[in-house]
């Protein structure tokens, strides 16, 4: 059997992390192919229900990344994102959603190397955790039953 390749979805803001990931490209820094990037104007826009949607659709791990604190292009979107993430995480823990599979980080437009690092470490961490079968099964079984 071939090695398990985790599917990682990254929800990133346009101004810092998307640009940071562009810089990783411009600098030709190589990283794991497992990640798919979804662009948002700001992390403040990210509706955390999208995270559960991503798990339901087959993601094994999720990265949420935006501008560093105080560097938000829109002043405060990243703070709202962080606050809602703290609440959402508690809810996930309560419901039994594996929050080790969700990585919340800041990557600026100048941090091309950091972006590659975050993707690589997330892929490796999630690889260790294995596929998120329990969630995937749960959602499909219930709908198909």
């Amino acid at each position: 059997m071939s090695e398990f390749e985790p599917k990682i979805v990254a929800f990133v803001c346009n101004w810092c992390t998307y640009a940071g990931a562009d810089l990783t490209g411009t600098s030709r820094i190589k990283y794991a192919t497992n990640v798919r990037i979804v662009r948002f104007p700001c992390t403040g826009r990210i509706d955390y229900m999208l995270l559960t949607k991503a798990f339901a659709s087959g993601a094994d791990g999720i990265i949420v990344s935006g501008c560093h604190p105080n560097d938000c292009h829109y002043t405060s979107g990243n703070f709202h994102a962080r606050r809602r993430w703290m609440v959402f995480k508690k809810l996930c823990d309560f419901m039994g959603i594996d929050t080790r599979r969700i990585v919340f980080s800041w990557v600026s437009a100048a941090e091309g190397v950091k972006w590659a690092d975050i993707v690589n470490t997330t892929v490796e961490e999630v690889r260790k955790l294995g596929p998120y079968e329990s969630y995937h099964k749960l959602s499909t079984q219930d709908i198909l039953a």
């Binding site: 979805v9 659709s57 437009a109």
Partner: protein
Amino acid sequence: MARIGVFICHCGENISATVDCPKVSEVAAKFPGVAFSTDYKYMCSDPGQSLVVNAIKEHKLTGIVVSACSPRMHEPTFRRACAEGGLNPYQCEMANIREHCSWVHEKGDKTDQKAIDIVRMMVEKVKRNNALLPIKVPVTKTALVIGGGVAGIQAALDIANAGHKVIMVERDPSIGGHMSQLSETFPTLDCSQCILTPRMVEVAQNPNIKLYTYAEIESVEGFVGNFNVKIRKKAKSVDETLCNGCGMCTTKCPNKKNPNEFELGMGNRPAIYVPFPQAVPNIPVIDKTQCTYYKNGKCKICEKVCQPKAIRFDQEDEIIEVAVGAIALCTGFDIKKTDFFPEYGYGKYKDIIDGLQFERLASASGPTSGEIRRPSDGQVPKKIVFVACAGSRDPAKGIEYCSKICCMYTAKHAILYKHKVHDGQAYIFYMDIRAAGKNYDEFTRRAIEEDQAQYIRGRVSRIYERDGKLIVVGADTLMNAQTVEIEADMVVLATAGVANKGAEELAQKLHVSYDQHKFFSEAHPKLKPVETNTAGIYLAGACQSPKDIPESVAAASGVAGKIACLFANSELTREPLIAMVDRQAPPMYSSCTGCFLCQPVCPYNAIEREEVKDRNGNLVRELAFINPGLCQGCGTCVAVCKSKSIDIEGYTNLQMYAEVDALLNS
């Protein structure tokens, strides 16, 4: 039914070397809703764009996905092509298979699969794009220049001479920046003050320029063409409208022993002072931390001697609000001080100085009237050592970059030294001589060949004092790394150029990006060197990275050109990617519950209360309304809306869920 066109770009070899473009195109052709799919060598070229335009017409496409570089690169290009083909320009999405795929992965199936996934995701998104009309906004044709160094001065004069109003804000009591502290300038050795002072005066006299010195930016709101800026004018304790610059107050002030910032501590100044004789404006300020009256409540001698009665002890900081259309950031740089270096004595040896202090010693208007004398005892140093790259290119010190100006000014210092101390000997420890620039290499050769500066290739590991001499211990890497010891009378460290104090806070107020060293980031390292990522905010000079005068001035003129272009139009078109609250006809039936949770999270105060009234004028309910002129499209309100009544164009709930769905359900 959607009829989507997919256009896969090879980008020469940039994409096709790692991604199998024909294969991606083939697979994409089978995605539901895709009516046409092709690949081409350079989609952004003229024939490439014609291909897109013709395909839209021929295949009656309803939307396009261009799989190529980052949308930050060519989205505008393909939106235009989209419009040319007869579609709404916003029916276009970019699938980033270059920066996010071909450039970061090796050739292989996994990379191809990733490219296919990215395309599929954008196909699903574009199917749900709405036709949008650009928003028109007016432009306030006044520019704000922050920082009055040579870069700010150049930018302000150019913009003013193009016929526009300029507001300049300078933190210090005078404009001029570091250039006003320099003695003579490489590579021509013309006197810095002589070339700068006339330009400073021009700023003060130009009717289009309003100058605020001893002032800082308090806050910035708004967006390109329409910024609202609050300026804090710090209290000078002097009424500028009355002061005639006679200088009586500064001569009579009894409290004269305060370290002189302009002379970098090598001299004193009174508590009421003008930083240097050619200051613009020539108006003194009272240093409240030093003034006897502010400290003890007694003295007021300046008030007594001031004939125009301009002294105001009760003056307070003033907040001035201005409206501007564009902002030029020209806040310059700073240098590391000698106390940064443990190996060179943490600044405890008086005769180890930094480059700027040497400039002051060499300056005719400096503390020694232009004679090179060491600070400890005023002796003329006969052996002087210059240490280049003090801190620069030193990852261990956290400064891995080259400070760029030091090779040149160190050569200049060696030349000036020889011109002033004919029997003296200068030694220069260096890593490489970086003298790339017009007449720059010739200049460093002149230091070596005409002025006998002795260049030693190697670093200095330690400096310590012995019998009144500074022992400089270094290695000569061109002599088998032999240890060299020089008994010097004085040492000048060419310390690293660093970001200016307060750069980070300012960047945060303006929402512009900065790098790990707190230098401001340009929007593109090659193609947008003077723009920031925030529309309408530009940068020039050493606030971006260490720069010499010609570079700073060139960038400043570039900024002025950009701003003049912006001001050439009376209206700007702005991206209509903004949020709106669900509205039904009649608005009564909106799903908005009127909880107004969205209001406090909006950074732009764009969310208003709209009252819905019945025919008798009675209030029925209140709904959130987003002012399209103020909304900047962050979408924070969308995520906090409990009833999912707010959506944002370009990133609607439908689009985002479809993207996530498409990504994984392959």
